[in-house]
C-alpha cells in the first residue's frame, strides 16, 4: 500500500513539475513566427532553391537582428523552415503537407516552378494554409484557390511580351517553339505564345512546335525539324539547364539565328553551363540586375557581399513574396494562440493588400491573388550579364 502511495505521489509531483516547466517555457520563450519554404534545394534546378533560401535567410537575419517582427506592439522572432521539394511535383505536395502538419507553419513561401506550385497550391488550398509562390507564372497556380497567392506576373502576360519583342527586335514573321512536355510552366507558356504569335502573324506562322520529355538531354531530332522549317527565331520557354544544352546543340546543327527565352532562363548558373553560346540572346524576366537602382540595388549589393554572386530574379521574388507575407501578418494587428485562426487571418490580410512596392517592381493584386506588374526584356551581353533592354507594362 505504502509503495503504491509513493509511486503515485512521485508521478503526480513529476507531472506537476513537467507542466510547470512547460508553461514556464511558454511564458518566457520569445514567441516565434514560423514560415515554411517549399523550394528545390536538389533536383533539376538546385540554384533556384539555393537563391530562395539565401534570400530568406538574409531577410530573416535582418529582421531578427532588429529584435523581430513587430505585430500589434509585440516583437516576434522569425523562424524559417526550408524544405527540399527535389524539384518534383509529387515531393512538392508531400513537403507542403509536412510543413502544414508537422512544422505547423503560419504560411508557405514557394514552390517556385509552376510544375510544383500547381499541385502544391492544391494541397495548401485544401488544408487552409496561405501559400505564396514567388516565381510561378502559370495561371493555374492561383486560379480559383483563395488560399494561394503569388509575386510573379503571369504567362498570359509574359507570352505576348516575348512575341511582341521578337517581332520588333528581329522583325520576325515566323517562329519555332521547343518546350518541355512534363513541365506545366514550359507547356503553358509555349501554348500561350503560340496562340498570341499566330493571332498577330496569321495561322501557321509558328512553323514548328516541338516538345521533349523529362530528363532528356538530346534534342537533335526536334532541332533538325525546327531548323528545316526555317523560322525567324526559336522560342525556348525552358529551364536554364535545358536551355544551355539546346542552344549548344542547335549551334552544332548549324543554326545561326536568334533565340528568345522566358523568365526561367534568368539564373546565375545559366552562363556557367552555357558559356559563349548564350551570349547575345534575349529573354523576358522579372527584373534586370545590371543597372538596378534604389531598394533593388541595396538588395543586390547586400546579397552579393554575403553570398558572392549576383542574385537572379528568383532571389528577388522570394524576398518580395516573404515580405508580402510578413506585411500581411503585421496587417492582422495581433496573433492568437489558434493556428487555424492565424492562418485564416493571414489569408484575409493577404487578400486585402491592394498595392505593394517590391524590389521587382510595384505590384497591384487582382481578385485571383495575382499581381499586376511590369516585365523586362534583358539581353545577355558579352560579359555574360543580363542587360536591361526594354520594360513592358500591362
Amino acid at each position: 500500500m505504502r509503495k503504491w502511495f509513493l509511486v503515485s505521489m512521485l508521478v503526480l509531483v513529476s507531472s506537476a513539475l513537467f507542466l510547470a516547466a512547460c508553461s514556464k517555457k511558454d511564458a518566457s520563450a520569445p514567441k516565434e513566427i514560423t514560415i515554411g519554404f517549399n523550394i528545390p534545394l536538389t533536383g533539376d534546378i538546385p540554384k533556384v532553391g539555393e537563391e530562395s533560401k539565401f534570400a530568406g535567410e538574409m531577410l530573416k537575419n535582418e529582421i531578427n537582428e532588429a529584435g523581430g517582427l513587430e505585430v500589434g506592439g509585440q516583437k516576434y522572432k522569425l523562424n524559417f523552415v526550408y524544405a527540399d521539394n527535389e524539384s518534383k511535383a509529387e515531393s512538392a505536395v508531400s513537403v507542403a503537407l509536412k510543413l502544414i502538419e508537422k512544422d505547423q507553419v503560419l504560411a508557405i513561401v514557394g514552390p517556385n516552378s509552376s510544375k510544383q506550385a500547381v499541385p502544391a497550391g492544391q494541397a495548401c488550398d485544401d488544408n487552409h494554409t496561405p501559400m505564396i509562390s514567388p516565381w510561378s507564372t502559370n495561371p493555374d497556380t492561383t486560379l480559383d484557390r483563395p488560399w494561394v497567392f503569388r509575386a510573379a506576373f503571369l504567362d498570359p502576360f509574359q507570352g505576348p511580351v516575348a512575341a511582341d519583342f521578337a517581332m520588333e527586335q528581329f522583325g520576325a514573321k515566323t517562329a519555332a517553339v521547343l518546350y518541355a512536355l512534363a513541365n506545366d510552366y514550359s507547356k503553358g507558356l509555349a501554348e500561350i505564345f503560340k496562340g498570341d504569335f499566330e493571332k498577330k502573324n496569321g495561322a501557321e506562322s509558328v512553323v514548328a512546335f516541338e516538345s521533349y520529355g523529362d530528363k532528356d538531354q538530346d534534342f537533335s531530332a526536334q532541332l533538325t525539324k525546327i531548323i528545316a522549317a526555317k523560322p525567324d527565331f526559336i522560342f525556348l520557354p525552358n529551364n536554364y539547364n535545358e536551355v544551355a544544352l539546346t542552344i549548344k546543340q542547335a549551334h552544332d546543327l548549324g543554326w545561326a539565328g536568334p533565340f528568345m527565352g522566358a523568365d526561367a532562363w534568368g539564373n546565375s548558373e545559366l552562363m556557367t553551363l552555357c558559356g559563349d553560346d548564350c551570349k547575345g540572346q534575349y529573354f523576358s524576366t522579372h527584373y534586370a540586375a545590371a543597372g538596378a537602382t534604389g531598394a533593388t540595388k541595396e538588395f543586390i549589393d547586400k546579397y552579393k557581399s554575403l553570398y558572392g554572386y549576383q542574385p537572379a530574379d528568383v532571389a528577388a521574388l522570394t524576398w518580395d513574396a516573404t515580405r508580402i507575407v510578413l506585411k500581411a501578418i503585421q496587417d492582422m494587428g495581433s496573433l492568437s494562440d489558434n493556428l487555424a485562426d492565424n492562418r485564416k487571418g493571414i489569408r484575409d490580410a493577404l487578400a486585402n493588400i491592394a498595392e505593394f512596392p517590391g524590389i521587382t517592381g510595384n505590384m497591384k493584386f487582382d481578385a485571383q491573388g495575382d499581381p499586376i506588374k511590369c516585365a523586362v526584356v534583358v539581353k545577355i551581353n558579352d560579359q555574360g550579364e543580363f542587360e536591361f533592354t526594354k520594360s513592358v507594362c500591362p
Binding site: 516541338e210 516538345s211 538531354q217 538530346d218 531530332a221
Partner: protein, 303 residues
C-alpha cells in the same frame, strides 16, 4: 527532305551510340552472371563525373593542351570507373552470391547500389550541376544543309570500335571462352579449373570501363553533369539490350542503335509529343513477335 533524313540518320547514329555503349555493359554482366546490373546506368554517371574531375585536374595542374588532356583522361577515366564497378561487385554482389542468394535479390541489390551512387554523389558534391570543360575544339562540318561535328564522328567511331573489341574478346580469346562457359553452366566451370571469381571480376572491369568511356563521351557531347543523368538513359539502354536479346553482344549493339533510330525518327515524322509513346510501342511490338529479342536464344530449362 533528303538532307533532313540524312541529318536525322547522323543524329540517330550519335544518340544510338550512347545506348549501345551502355547496353553492352548490361549485356556483358547478364551474359556471364544472368544478373541484371541495374546500377550500370549510375556507373555510367560516375564515369562522367570521374572524367570531369580528371579533366579539370589535368587542365589546372598541367600545361597539357586540350587534346593531351583528353588522351590522358580516356585511360584514367576507364581505369577508375572499372574500379568502381569492381568494388560494387566485391561489396554488394559477391557476398550474396557466396550465400547462394536467389538472383532476384541480387537484382534488387543492384537497384539499391544505383540509388546509393546517385544519392552519394548528391550528398558529396551537392545538387549544383557541373559544366564539363571543352577539351577539343569543336569543328562543325557542313555538307549542303547536313551538319556534323568532329565530336559526333568520334562518338560513333568509338561505339563501333568498342563493339569490335568486346566481340573479339568474348568470341576469340580464352577468357572470353571462360565467360561464355560460366553463363552456360556455373557449377561445372570451377570443376574444370577455371577461376570463376577472376572471370567475373574481369567481366565487371570490361563493362564498367566502357561505361566510363561512354560517360566521358557523353560529358563531351552534352557538357552538363548532374547526379541523375544516368538513371533514364540507363533504363532505356537496358530496354535496348533486352530488345536486342540480352546476353548477346551483337544484340546489345544493334538494340542500342535501334532504340536511337526509333526515338529520333519518330520525332522526325510524328509530333514530338508522342515520341516515347510511339517509340516504346514499336519496341513492344518487336518483343511480342520475338520475345527473346533480336539475337536472343530461347533458354532451355535444365532438370
Amino acid at each position: 527532305m533528303l538532307a533532313s533524313i540524312l541529318q536525322n540518320i547522323i543524329n540517330a547514329l550519335q544518340w544510338g551510340s550512347f545506348y549501345s555503349l551502355i547496353a553492352l555493359g548490361y549485356t556483358l554482366v547478364y551474359g556471364v552472371l544472368l544478373l541484371i546490373n541495374f546500377a550500370h546506368g549510375d556507373v555510367f554517371m560516375v564515369g562522367a563525373y570521374i572524367a570531369f574531375f580528371v579533366a579539370t585536374f589535368l587542365l589546372s595542374f598541367s600545361a597539357l593542351p586540350g587534346w593531351g588532356v583528353l588522351a590522358l583522361t580516356i585511360p584514367l577515366c576507364m581505369i577508375l570507373t572499372a574500379l568502381v564497378g569492381v568494388s560494387l561487385e566485391r561489396i554488394a554482389y559477391r557476398p550474396l552470391r557466396r550465400k547462394g542468394a536467389h538472383r532476384l535479390y541480387v537484382v534488387i541489390t543492384a537497384l539499391m547500389c544505383g540509388l546509393v551512387l546517385e544519392n552519394g554523389n548528391l550528398a558529396l558534391l551537392g545538387a549544383s550541376r557541373k559544366a564539363f570543360p571543352e577539351l577539343i575544339h569543336k569543328v562543325v562540318f557542313t555538307f549542303g544543309s547536313v551538319t556534323m561535328t568532329n565530336l559526333k564522328i568520334a562518338v560513333i567511331l568509338s561505339a563501333f570500335l568498342t563493339f569490335f573489341i568486346l566481340q573479339f574478346i568474348v568470341t576469340k580469346t580464352k577468357i572470353g571462352m571462360a565467360m561464355r562457359a560460366i553463363s552456360y553452366d556455373k557449377f561445372a566451370v570451377p570443376l574444370m579449373g577455371i577461376p570463376i571469381d577472376t572471370v567475373i571480376v574481369f567481366t565487371f572491369v570490361l563493362g564498367s570501363a566502357f561505361a566510363g568511356l561512354a560517360g566521358l563521351l557523353f560529358a563531351l557531347s552534352y557538357p552538363i553533369l548532374d547526379p541523375y543523368m544516368g538513371a533514364m538513359i540507363g533504363w532505356k539502354a537496358f530496354i535496348a539490350a533486352v530488345v536486342g536479346g540480352i546476353g548477346d553482344i551483337r544484340g546489345a549493339f544493334l538494340g542500342g542503335f535501334l532504340l536511337g533510330f526509333v526515338e529520333i525518327l519518330v520525332v522526325a515524322f510524328f509530333p514530338s509529343t508522342y515520341r516515347d509513346l510511339i517509340a516504346f510501342s514499336i519496341l513492344l511490338v518487336i518483343l511480342c513477335i520475338k520475345p527473346t529479342g533480336l539475337f536472343g536464344v530461347a533458354q532451355t530449362t535444365k532438370i
